[in-house]
């Protein structure tokens, strides 16, 4: 009898909200779930073993071999950040190189690799086709640093897939997401939104839960290659602003991307990555036909539904979440308890309960 596949899954970058959601979805479906990140987990998950590990070091290979991981879900990729370009490059490209090196080799136990990427891999230019298919990723040389990093890491994953035919690699290009954590979400949450004069770009959005579902499906599946993941349909920026109950202030000069980003940062405090400045001028829409066909699944929320969800959630009060260290402690405790239950009848008296 062959063991069920996947049986031992490792999620990197599990401490961001998307990673936590993917872990929550995968937990009931796989026997062994491991997660690693540099930061403490954001929410407790008793079915997951958490390891502190830095992707930028080669420890990941050791981890993969020791734990005999067969499926790696690589989510420690920065797809949206206004932080320093160098730090982003370190995490995205060097981190991915380490993960790939850890999974490589003929003796490797890894048979499935899912890499998170983003719609940002295309960038946005006026001369690009209106609807971007998967093979159009490197139309330009990458105007912004995130686009360049994503192109590079996708190239690395592609090369890895060619050299290691026994490992199936899927690259999930997630659409732009609007949450409190993403730059686009923070940008749209302002009461007055500075926009580029004379532009009303088409935006294609992806709801957070659809993103997590797509990654989880990919982890359990066999599909290979790059996949665009985004909601159906298009929302114009002006529509999105109206839905968010905000007002647009079309004052930003066109083409002056850097100056405009500075202006947005000084007026609203939102650090807009440079690829988003391009998207806010020229728009970005992708073709998800491959995803629909090969996964026989499509995101439950359209682009319009994604922004509606965000707009409705905006006014709700956020329930104060426990601080991460507490969460971490709680998780450690739950795991210890679970392990004790599983192993020793001798401890049964100590952990009495149903």
């Amino acid at each position: 009898m062959t063991p069920p596949f996947p049986s031992r899954v490792l999620i990197t970058g599990v401490s961001n909200p998307l990673g936590a959601e993917v872990a929550r979805r995968l937990a009931p479906q796989v026997p062994w779930l491991f997660g690693c990140d540099v930061d403490d987990p954001v929410s407790a998950n008793e079915d997951m073993d958490f390891v502190h590990a830095d992707m930028r070091q080669s420890v990941i290979g050791k981890l993969v071999r020791r734990l005999r991981i067969d499926t790696v879900v690589h989510l420690a990729v920065i797809v949206d950040s206004g932080r320093g370009d160098r730090a982003t490059h370190e995490t995205s490209v060097i981190g991915t190189m380490n993960v790939l090196a850890g999974c490589a080799g003929p003796a490797s136990s890894v048979k499935r690799l899912v890499v998170k990427s983003s719609q940002a891999v295309y960038g946005a230019r006026p001369e690009y086709p209106s609807v971007l298919a998967e093979e159009m990723a490197s139309l330009g040389r990458g105007e912004s640093s995130i686009t360049r990093d994503l192109i590079e890491l996708e190239q690395l994953s592609h090369d890895f897939a060619l050299r290691n035919p026994e490992c199936r690699v899927a690259r999930m290009r997630l659409g732009y997401r609007v949450t409190r954590e993403t730059s686009l979400g923070r940008y749209l949450s302002q009461p007055l939104i500075p926009t580029f004069a004379g532009f009303d770009p088409r935006l294609q959005l992806l709801a957070e839960e659809d993103a997590a579902e797509a990654i989880a499906l990919a982890a359990l599946g066999k599909q290979e290659g790059a996949f665009n993941v985004a909601g159906d349909g298009v929302v114009l920026l002006s529509q999105a602003i109206t839905i968010m109950g905000a007002r647009s202030v079309p004052v930003l000069p066109p083409y002056a991307g850097w100056a405009s980003r500075m202006a947005i940062r000084s007026t609203t405090g939102v650090r807009l990555p440079s690829h988003l400045a391009e998207v806010l001028m020229f728009g970005s829409v992708v073709d998800c036909a491959r995803l629909h066909q090969e996964f026989a699944w499509k995101p439950a929320h359209s682009s319009r539904a994604a922004i509606d969800l965000f707009a409705q959630g905006k006014s709700e009060d956020v329930i104060e979440a426990p601080s991460p260290p507490q969460e971490y402690e709680l998780q450690r405790y739950l795991q210890r308890r679970k392990r004790e239950r599983r192993h020793g009848a001798g401890h049964a008296a100590l952990t009495a309960g149903p």
Partner: protein, 350 residues
């Protein structure tokens, strides 16, 4: 009236309120409330104005025996204003397609383009029966005039003259898709970037696609070179049509060459401003914005018999020999159509 009908009527507003997502209580704006008579007058003012104008129109017709004020045209303008008001009210509750096309918004501008079509350029259109009522079709036309007014007139013709009005989706040079305001207007009214992939996608959605293979070489030619068709690209439009299985309908336009008689081009200025050409006409740039008003030449548009490229298998799209031959066939049809229509036109402005 039965009791059921009454029940339906009384139920209606409650049901609607439950389904509306962003229902909010509308309170009257605080401030001075006008007396009832003033409010009524303000509400009815547009109606009174139209009535007065209509009376005046009838009186003038009786006096002179000619139509001085055409009430149909006036009503079209009123309708335009009303539609704009209605469009402003829809907020974010509308849908654009993947290319950013907003059909409702586009149709609201039709009265203006119809007025240009009928009264300004007095366009005479023939061969509309060659444009199918449904299904994918590629319209190929000659391009002239400094600004693409010929595209708008072909689109208007399809809406005014065709028994089943259709939106033509024109392909625009990528240069214009990067320009503020212009790109916004073009996308919103159904245009998209001139990329083979966009053409394929639109044809696969059974749309009517309008392409000008001459591109800016056509619009940027001098008045002395008028009605001499330029090279039709590399025949890329034929390959795309063969792959998508769409017939090609050649369209010849006469009249667009004279709207801005371009006597010279200043390449240095064009390069400086990032434009494909910088035109000099008798009025531009000397008169400033007034120089952008197109001249009222007499136009003729002819839709020719389709060239059925869809009979070829998709692999034929890679046969450069066949593609160039078909491209030349389309070009010759248009060139011949241009000459025919020039003969039929009595003069440039009549």
């Amino acid at each position: 009236m039965s009791r059921d009908t009454v029940a339906v009527y009384t139920d209606a507003p409650r049901v609607r309120r439950r389904h509306s997502r962003d229902a909010k209580v509308v309170t009257p704006a605080p401030g001075l409330r006008m007396p009832r008579a003033v409010r009524r007058l303000r509400r009815n003012a547009p109606m009174y104005a139209i009535q007065g104008l209509s009376d005046l129109s009838t009186r003038l017709r009786e006096l002179t025996g000619r139509e001085i004020i055409d009430m149909n045209r006036v009503m079209e303008l009123v309708q335009f204003a009303y539609q704009q008001q209605q469009l402003a009210k829809r907020g974010a509750n509308y849908v654009v397609d993947d290319f950013g096309f907003d059909a409702e918004w586009t149709e609201s501008f039709l009265p203006i383009f119809k007025a240009l079509y009928r009264d300004y350029w007095r366009v005479e259109t023939s061969g509309m029966e060659h444009v199918p009522s449904s299904g994918r079709t590629l319209l190929v036309a000659n391009h002239a005039g400094v600004l693409p007014w010929d595209g708008t007139m072909i689109k208007t013709a399809l809406f005014v003259e065709h028994p089943h009005p259709r939106h033509a989706r024109a392909l625009v040079a990528s240069l214009f898709m990067g320009m503020p305001f212009l790109s916004w207007f073009l996308r919103r009214t159904g245009q998209t970037v001139g990329h083979p992939d966009d053409t394929r996608r639109l044809l696969e959605r059974d749309q009517l696609v309008l392409v000008f293979p001459e591109g800016v070489r056509g619009t940027g030619k001098l008045y002395a070179d008028r009605y001499k068709l330029r090279r039709f690209g590399r025949g890329g439009f034929v390959s795309t049509a063969i792959r998508a299985g769409a017939p090609i309908v050649p369209v010849s336009v006469v009249g667009a060459e004279e709207i801005y008689p371009m006597i010279a081009d200043v390449p240095a200025l064009a390069k400086l401003m990032g434009l494909p050409y910088f035109p000099v006409t008798p009025f531009w740039p000397w008169l400033g914005p007034l120089g952008m008003i197109p001249l009222p030449s007499k136009w003729r548009i002819q839709f020719h018999e389709p060239v059925h490229v869809e009979v070829h298998p998709p692999e034929a799209a890679d046969d450069q020999n066949l593609v160039m031959a078909l491209s030349d066939e389309v070009r010759d049809t248009i060139q011949q159509g241009v000459y025919d229509n020039l003969k039929l036109r009595r003069g440039v402005f009549i």
